[in-house]
């Protein structure tokens, strides 16, 4: 079982390869879209590379969940509903949903996707949890 530090180092290498960013840009707080410039296809690429680098399988939607926006009970008028927040907590125990809940605009969802979120996910996963 690798330490959090070892996982972070490997995640950083993965993101440097996938996104063509510099080492020092990949901080735990960095957001994938806002800070590191990831686009939709990059999320797929990141998952592929994590699977390879950590020798694990990451089922579709587990690390980066599918969009909530199609469901009116989860997102209404551009804001994630309390039910949507609950849904996020259950789908993304590895993300800092508390922070998001303070300003739950749907466009802020992407701020959940941080480097630390990936590290948390892998820690759970490698510990044998369902993440």
């Amino acid at each position: 079982m690798p330490t959090a530090e070892e996982i972070f180092t490997k995640v950083r290498e993965t993101l440097v390869d996938a996104l063509g960013v510099d080492d020092d840009e990949v901080t735990p707080e960095a957001t994938l879209v806002g800070d590191l410039g990831a686009e939709s296809i990059d999320f797929l690429d990141i998952v592929f590379r994590l699977e390879k680098n950590f020798s694990i399988k990451i089922p579709r939607g587990e690390l980066f969940p599918e969009s909530l926006a199609a469901d009116q009970t989860l997102v209404k008028d551009g804001v994630v509903t309390p039910q949507g927040i609950a849904e996020l907590r259950s789908r993304m125990p590895h993300a800092d949903v508390d922070k998001f809940a303070k300003n739950p605009k749907v466009e802020n969802i992407q701020e959940l996707f941080t480097v630390q979120m990936i590290v948390n996910f892998l820690q759970n996963k490698l510990a044998g949890g369902s993440a």
């Binding site: 686009e39 296809i41 592929f48 590379r49």
Partner: protein, 251 residues
């Protein structure tokens, strides 16, 4: 002249017609080539031995391109043995011509599945290895029928129109990964598939073609070869007509 030394390629519908010419062209340009064929073992073996006489190694894989699992397995095995797959040519295609009023659901489905679903099957299979390699050349086979239509080919034209839309979407999805996705749209090419139409109306057809001859499979293969080369890196999402001017219109 396109040089494909060190590159690897997979061609569907490779044993006959245009596909056979594409296998020849890619192999002669230096690529290691595998092709998929449906049923004609004899034609496939002939092609392999023909190229073997030129000291070129190509391998033949019998499979139904409509079958997603078969596509995944072929691509997996090739990537395992080659460690990379640089070029995919989705050439497999059939016609089942009929006026719409009498077209059977099987005629519709066979053509859509073979010509369009096969493109989904193989493109999806190669996406991951090509993304990892940050390199790829995908060339899909369309037809001028996609844009212009022909009586009795609603199924075929629909499948090829689908291929063209698919090509543009995938081009956008994969562009940032060094992967280009283009299509070639042949006009009237002299192959087994078009023999019936040719026999019925060859003189008429030639009159309509400014170049005044039917296309040869090699004419199409040269366009594919160009798009499959490293030099075509800034061309993506395009449909290249190879039709001797057939669709130019005017006089």
């Amino acid at each position: 002249m396109t040089n494909l030394e060190g590159r690897t390629a997979l061609v569907t519908g490779g044993s006959r017609g245009i596909g056979c010419a594409i296998v020849h062209a890619l192999a002669r340009a230096g690529a290691r080539v595998a092709f998929v064929y449906q049923s004609n073992v004899e034609a496939a073996e002939r092609l392999v031995s023909e190229l073997a006489r030129e000291q070129l190694t190509v391998t033949a894989h019998q499979a139904d391109v409509r079958n997603k699992d078969a596509a995944d397995e072929i691509v997996r095995a090739l990537v395992e043995s080659w460690e990379r797959l640089d070029i995919l040519v989705n050439n497999a295609g059939i016609i089942r011509d009929s006026l719409l009023a009498t077209m059977s659901p099987e005629q519709w489905r066979d053509v859509l599945d073979t010509n369009l679903s096969s493109v989904f099957n193989f493109c999806q299979a190669v996406t991951r290895p090509m993304m990892s390699a940050r390199y790829g050349r995908i060339v899909n086979m369309s037809s001028v029928a996609a844009e212009f239509g022909n009586k009795g080919q609603a199924n075929y034209a629909a499948s090829k129109g689908g291929v063209e839309g698919f090509t543009r979407c995938l081009a956008k999805e994969l562009a940032s990964r060094g992967i280009t996705v283009n299509a070639v749209a042949p006009g009237f090419i002299d192959t087994d598939m078009t023999a019936a139409v040719r026999n019925a109306a060859e003189a008429e057809i030639k009159k309509a073609i400014p170049v005044r001859r039917l296309g040869r499979p090699e004419d199409v293969a040269q366009a594919v070869l160009f798009l499959a080369g490293e030099g075509a890196s800034y061309i993506t999402g395009q449909i290249l007509k190879v039709d001797g001017g057939l669709t130019l219109g005017g006089f």
